[in-house]
Each structure stands twice: as C-alpha cells, then as structure tokens.
C-alpha cells in the first residue's frame, strides 16, 4: 500500500530538480499566505461577491490584468533561465530535457497566457467606456471567458509541479508531440490548458464584436468610433475566424493521443505536416490578433499627447481591416522549407510582404500625427516612441524572412528568434504597456509614478536591444533555435559566446525593468498622484468624460455623440460657453452577478485534469458538471435588475462632488 502511494507520488509529482522543489515550496507558501490573509481579514465573502461572481467588465478587466502580469513574471523567469543556460559555452545550469520544457512553456505562456489576457484586460477596461456603453453585449459570457482562461492557464502551469511540463515546442509539432515520442502527460496539459482557455478567447471575440457593432452610444457612427475600438473590432474578427481552427487542431492531436487516431502520426496514413498547416492557419492570424490592439493603443496615445486629431483616420481603419483579411493568407511562410512547390512559396512570400504595407501606412500616420503637434512626453508616449523604431526594424527583418529562397538560410535560426521577439516585445508588449500606463488612472483612480516608470522604460528599451541585436548576428553565424548548449569551440573560436553573453545581460536588464514596474505599482498605490478630474491627460474620447474609477454603470446618462473625438468636442463646446443639456436620470438596466461562470470553469478544469491523466472517473463528472451549469443558466430567468434613479443621483453626487 505504502509502496503504491510512493510509486504514484513519484510519477504524479515532478521530482529531481532543485528548481522544481523551490517552486513547490513557493507555491505552497504563497497559497497558505493567501488563504491566511483572506481568512484573517475576513475577506472571503468580499472576494466571492465582488470579484469571483462579478459580471462587471471593469472588474473582469482588472482580474485579467493581474493574471497576465503574473504570467509575464512566470514567462519572464523562463526566459531568464534560458538566457542563463546559454550565457557561456558548456553551461550545466539546465539539463537538456529541462531546457526543452522551459522554452516550450516560455512561448506558450507568453503568447496565450500573457499577451492574450493582457489584451483582453484592455478590451474590457476600455472598449465599453470608449463606446459610451454600460457594459459589454454579454456580461455573463464575459465572466465565463475570464474564468475559462484562468482555469486553462492554471491547468497549464500546474504541469510544472505535477506530471511534467510539455516539452515539444510552443506549437507542439507532431510527431514529437504524439504519444510515440512524448509519452508523458505534458502534452496533455498543453492541449487541455489551451483548449479550455481558447473557448474563453473565442467567446470574448464574439462578445466584443457584438459590443462594438451594437452597443455604441447614440450618434457614434462606425467612422466616428475611436481607433482603439476599431482595432478591437479587427482583432475580434480574426479571433472569430482563427480560433475555431485551433480548437479543431488541438482536438485532433488529442484524439491521436487519447484514442489512437492517425491524423498526424507517422504511420497508418497520418500526415504530420497537416498539423503544421492547421496550427499556423491559427498561429499566424494570432500574432495579428495581439498586435492590432497595440496599434489601436498607439493611435489613441499619439493623438492625445500630440494634442491633435489622429492623422489619416480613414486609412488607419482601412489598413487595420486589410491586415485582418490578409493575415489569413500568410501562414505558410512559417515553413517555406516544408517542400511545397515554388509557386506556393511565391504566393506566401508575396502575401507576407504585402501585409507590411498597411502596417507601414500606420507608422507614417503616427509620425504625421506627431508632426507639428504639441507633444508631451508622458509614460504612455515614451513607450510609443520606443515602439516606432523598434517595430520598423522588426518589420524590415520580417520582410527579409519573407523572401522564400533566403528563408532557407534564416529558417529556425536565431535570426528568426530576434525577429519575432522584436515585433512581439517592441510591438505587442510596448503597446500594451503604453495602454496600461495610459488607462491606469481611469481604472484605478491614480497615476503611476513617473520617475520609476522612466527607469523601467529605459531598462526595458535598452535591455531589449542589448538582448536581441546580438541574436540577429548569431543567426547568421549558424546558431539555431532550441539549442540547449554549445561547445567552447563554437563558443570562442566562432564567436558565439561573447554575443550570447551580451544577449543574456540584455535579458536581465529587461528583468530589472519588470522589477521597477512592480516597485512602481506598489509605490503608486500608496503615493501615486490621484486623478480627481477623470481626465488626467486631456483625453479626446468618451472614457475620459466620466469619473475615475468609473461608477459601476459607467455612464449615468447615455452620451450623445455628434463627431469623432466626442469628449474633445464637449470640452471645446464648454470652452465656447455652450452649456450641456440638463441631465435627467433614468433607471439603469444591469446584469446580476452569477456564480455559474466560475463553477462551470472549475468543472472544465476538473474534466481537463481528468483527461490529462486519462482518469475517466474524474473527466466524466467534470463534463457532467459543465452540462449541469449550462442547464442551470438556461433555467435561470432572474438575471438582471434596475438601478433606481435616486441611487444614481447619490452615486453621481458623491463622485462629481469630489471633482468640483
């Protein structure tokens, strides 16, 4: 009996590495600390009522933000582990298989569990406010999306201490990810972690598409809509068309592993390259899913801090919609070396170069917006200014990679690694950070400290170039990706080692930048400059017309929109002495909180965990739980309520009274 338990535990828990024991201990301690704090301060009901069951987009956005910052930390630690291992030749810091697990989880976490939720955080925090709406189209579904994402992310992260991490690369190419080559449970964690959170992402795409199409304030025509909302629209359209492909691809891989099907196996007629095609039909649009909202953020930030209308609004909209279409026709550039005919490669090479054109248009629009503007260098503006040159270089190296014959040289080398980090960090991360700094006062009611923020920015920005510029050279020198170590001959005689060492220094500079940001947040919570006006930057769009943080119903009265930059117009009218129409409150229709999203997501987690370990006694009850939750929702009719007028009056008096 005891032997059996010991036997089980030694395969169930990951053992053998001091790093993992360290993680075990820190996870246990953190959990105990959280439980203790919540119990000691009697916060359990508060947590349940105000956060876990909430359907308020602003709170869901905050939860997304916290989760994504935690994931940024985990993914960043993975990155530093890799860079430490590669700093010098023949390092013994990580074993080969551990290194494989680390680069796999780094990639998966950064894209799916960091970038996606950070993007959804900004969707949630900003879009309804920018549209003059009271919530998203489907608040219940929104909450479900968040909890599905979180449970998927937790399931994926659990693999670090239980069962073993996936180690077949961030896209899990078969046959390596098939049962024949990865017999452990790591790939199952990968499949179910992403599958569960992917359902949530798909639902968010639908939710925000409908929100933008149907929930805009009266008078806000599509072409009067702020550009961030446009970017969310284009991103949501891509989500809707791309994520179903991911769902199917992962499901088929699961069937291969679970029922012995032969979609992607090497034998009995399977076709591994079909997986590579399918995963990139999702994977390439995915990078545009995450980068388009960043473009939207830059458009808002540049206009606000240049005190000018955005230059070329129509071309901005047109180029984003064009990107969202063309992004579906570039996927094969990830495997020019597959052996498709030259004609196929030519098609994808040209489509890849073509998609650079609308992106270039946007860069010029931002530059022309700044031209002759009254520019103030605030933190969001700083990140925007860091982004433009970085993304331009990243785009240029992308066009180099798009040249199919030349790609045979670059393919899977460090040149590629440097390229996609340049567009993902320089584009997506810088963009989201700009957005977070920009809208932070709106969300939390205070600004983030400027001095610490500038430290963080320069550490990130300089660290980025120090880290990734040497990698372009390393790629040309023949260093391939996913290499866990190199000999001292290549290291010193071929000159890999100095460049790798510099790159590692850069990675740690970025890590230091992140620490400054954590410091900045914790400092500003206590001492940050409070935003009493609701409009700390001199904003142009509707989110700045209401107090910070926004009341639960967002807008006491539905705003009437007549132009683009709606709030700017109101401010101009006020300056001219035009009085706003007298306010008349009406009861506000609000959705009720619900526990079903959380419970249903927990059931998905249980089912996913069961499937990971092939424990049907656990998976089936989990799925039954999901079904019961669906039915429970279908049978509940008491799902909304009205905020009475006197309560709105009281809330508004308290909020606005502060500002006078």
């Amino acid at each position: 009996m005891w032997e059996n338990i010991k036997d089980f535990a030694s395969t169930f828990f990951v053992t053998g590495d001091p790093l993992i024991y360290g993680a075990d201990v820190s996870i246990a301690l953190t959990s105990i600390a959280i439980v203790f704090v919540l119990t000691y301060f009697k916060k359990w009901t508060w947590l349940w009522r105000e956060w876990i069951t909430t359907v308020d987009h602003k709170r869901i956005g905050i939860m997304y933000l916290i989760a994504s910052l935690l994931m940024l930390f985990r993914g960043g630690v993975d990155a530093l582990l890799m860079r430490t291992q590669l700093a010098l030749p023949n390092m013994k810091f990580l074993q080969a298989d551990h290194y494989n697990a680390v680069f796999t989880t780094h990639g998966t976490i950064m894209i799916l569990f960091m970038a996606m939720p950070m993007m959804f955080a900004l969707f949630n925090l900003v879009v309804p406010l920018q549209l003059g709406a009271r919530d998203v189209a489907y608040p219940f579904l929104n909450s479900l999306s968040f909890w599905l994402f979180l449970m998927g992310a937790m399931l994926f992260n659990l693999s670090f201490v239980i069962g073993g991490s996936p180690d077949a690369g961030w896209l899990s190419y078969p046959p390596l990810s098939e049962l024949s080559h990865s017999p452990g449970v790591g790939e199952n964690f990968y499949i179910w972690g992403i599958q569960i959170s992917g359902i949530g992402s798909l639902a968010t795409g639908i939710n925000f598409l409908v929100t933008i199409l149907k929930m805009r304030a009266p008078g806000m025509k599509m072409m009067k809509m702020p550009l961030f909302s446009w970017s969310v629209l284009s991103s949501s359209i891509i989500i809707i068309f791309a994520f179903p492909i991911l769902t199917v691809t992962l499901a088929l891989l699961f069937l291969d592993r679970f029922l012995g099907a032969h979609f992607f196996t090497m034998d009995l007629g399977g076709n591994p390259m079909m997986y590579v095609n399918l995963i990139w039909m999702w994977g390439h649009p995915e990078v545009y899913i995450v980068v388009l909202p960043a473009f939207g953020i830059f458009s808002e930030v540049v206009a606000t801090f240049s005190k000018k209308k955005i230059f070329g609004y129509n071309s901005m909209v047109f180029s984003m919609m064009l990107i969202s279409i063309v992004s579906f026709f570039t996927w094969a550039h990830h495997f020019f070396t597959m052996g498709a005919s030259a004609n196929v490669n030519v098609f994808f090479a040209i489509s890849t170069m073509v998609i650079g054109i609308p992106t270039g248009v946007k860069i010029f629009n931002w530059l022309f917006t700044m031209f002759r503007g009254r520019i103030t260098i605030t933190q969001p503006m700083l990140w925007t200014l860091g982004f433009i040159p970085c993304f331009a270089v990243g785009g240029a190296t992308g066009v180099m990679l798009a040249v199919a014959p030349a790609d045979y040289q670059y393919h899977n080398s460090y040149f590629l690694i440097a390229h996609f980090h340049q567009v993902l960090i320089g584009g997506v991360v810088f963009g989201y950070l700009a957005g977070i700094y920009y809208w932070w006062p709106k969300v939390f009611g205070f600004k983030l400290n400027d001095r610490l923020g500038k430290w963080a920015f320069w550490l990130w920005n300089i660290g980025f170039y120090v880290c990734f510029m040497p990698q372009y050279a390393l790629g040309f020198m023949g260093m391939t990706r996913r290499l866990y170590t190199y000999g001292s001959d290549t290291g010193w005689d071929l000159g890999w080692a100095p460049l790798n060492l510099i790159s590692t220094v850069g990675a740690f500079l970025m890590g230091l930048g992140f620490i400054f940001q954590v410091w900045q947040i914790s400092y500003s919570i206590r001492k940050g400059e409070r935003d009493l006006t609701g409009d700390p930057w001199g904003g142009r769009t509707l989110e700045w017309s209401i107090p910070s943080p926004a009341p639960m119903y967002n807008f006491a009265v539905e705003p009437q929109v007549t132009t683009d930059d709606a709030w700017w117009k109101v401010k101009e009218d006020r300056a001219k002495g035009i009085k706003p129409a007298p306010v008349k409150y009406e009861p506000i229709h609000m959705p009720k909180n619900s526990a079903i999203p959380f419970v249903m997501s927990v059931c998905w987690f249980i089912a996913g965990f069961g499937f990971v370990f092939d424990w049907m006694w656990m998976a089936i009850p989990g799925l039954i739980g999901v079904a019961i939750c669906l039915l429970a929702r279908s049978f509940s009719y008491d799902t909304d309520y009205y905020i009475p007028v006197d309560e709105i009056e009281r809330t508004e008096a308290a909020l606005r009274g502060r500002t006078v």
């Binding site: 199917v248 499901a251 979609f263 009995l268 076709n271 009861p587």
Partner: protein, 201 residues
Amino acid sequence: MAHATAEHSHAHEAHESHESLKVLGFWIFIVTDILIFGTLFACYAVLHTHTNGGPGAKELFEMPGVIAETFILLTSSFTSGLAVLAMHKGKVKQLIAWLAVTAVLGAAFIGMELTEFVKLVEEGHKISSNAFLSAFYTLVGTHGLHVSIGLVWMIGLMIQLSRRGVTEVTTRKVTNLSLYWHFLDVIWIFVFTVVYLMGVM
C-alpha cells in the same frame, strides 16, 4: 402613473433589444461552428484516401441506412420550422408538440448513426485503424455530438416553454435553437454529399 408607464416601456424596450442582441451573437457562434466543420472537412479531404491498404469509403458505407438518416434529419428540420410557425401564432401546445416530434426524429437519427458506428467498429474498422477512418469518425461524430447536444437543449426548452409559455425570452431561445437545428441540417447535407455520396461514387 405616466412616469411608471414610461419606465415600463423603457424597460421593455431595453429587454427586447437585448434579446435580439443574443440572436445576433448566436449567428456569429454559428460562423465559428462552420469553421470548425470546415476544418474537419478539410482534414477529411486530405486524409480520405489514406486508408493504409484497408477498405475505403466505397467498401464500407451502406447507403440505404444513410439515406434514411438524411430524410429523417431533413424532416426534423421541417418540423422545427413548423414549431417556429406555431410559436409566432402564440400556440404553446402546438409549439411543444412540434419540438417533441423534432426531438424524436433527431433521436432516431442519432440512434441510426450510432448503430452504423457500432457495426463498423465490430467489423474491425476503428478510429485507430487508419487516417481515413480517424477523419471519418471525427467529422461525422462531431456532427452527431452537435445533434445530441441539440436534443438536450430542446428538452430543456420544452420544459421551460411548458412553464412559462411564449415570452420574449423563450421566443429568442426557440429562435436560436431552430437556427442551430437548420444549421446542423445544412452541415449534414455536406456530410452526406462529401463523405457518403462522393465516397461510394
């Protein structure tokens, strides 16, 4: 009094527009579902000749049963349409009755499909036999799973209708359900054509 009425009509309006919002969302969900089936069809198109020397579509499929399934499902689509017509006339009993007929036909379809699958498996043609069969079972099975989920949904809705009658909310729910059911019918037409007809041709 006037105030109360205004308030009521406002509430009424907001509620109604919210229901139409949910129908729009459901249409978009169907778009995503089309993509799921589209991907599965693409996989089937790639793999349908990969039988690894085993029997292919021509040898395995028995058309009479499949044609019967097709007619049953098409009829159920028609009866779900009759249910919606009854709903627009406000006849709850008729509505529930037509939904019940639809559900029975759907269940018959699932029963026949399961019988077909069981027979194939007993003859040794499993999902793990070769890539063609993997793609076949997954594509047709995903459609069957959708129909089964639709059945549970339909039963749940019949209970709600019997309790609450035809309201804005139940109208929206029946509308979405019938959209879903017609959509599955369209998918089946493609399954029937691509998998079965072109398979035995």
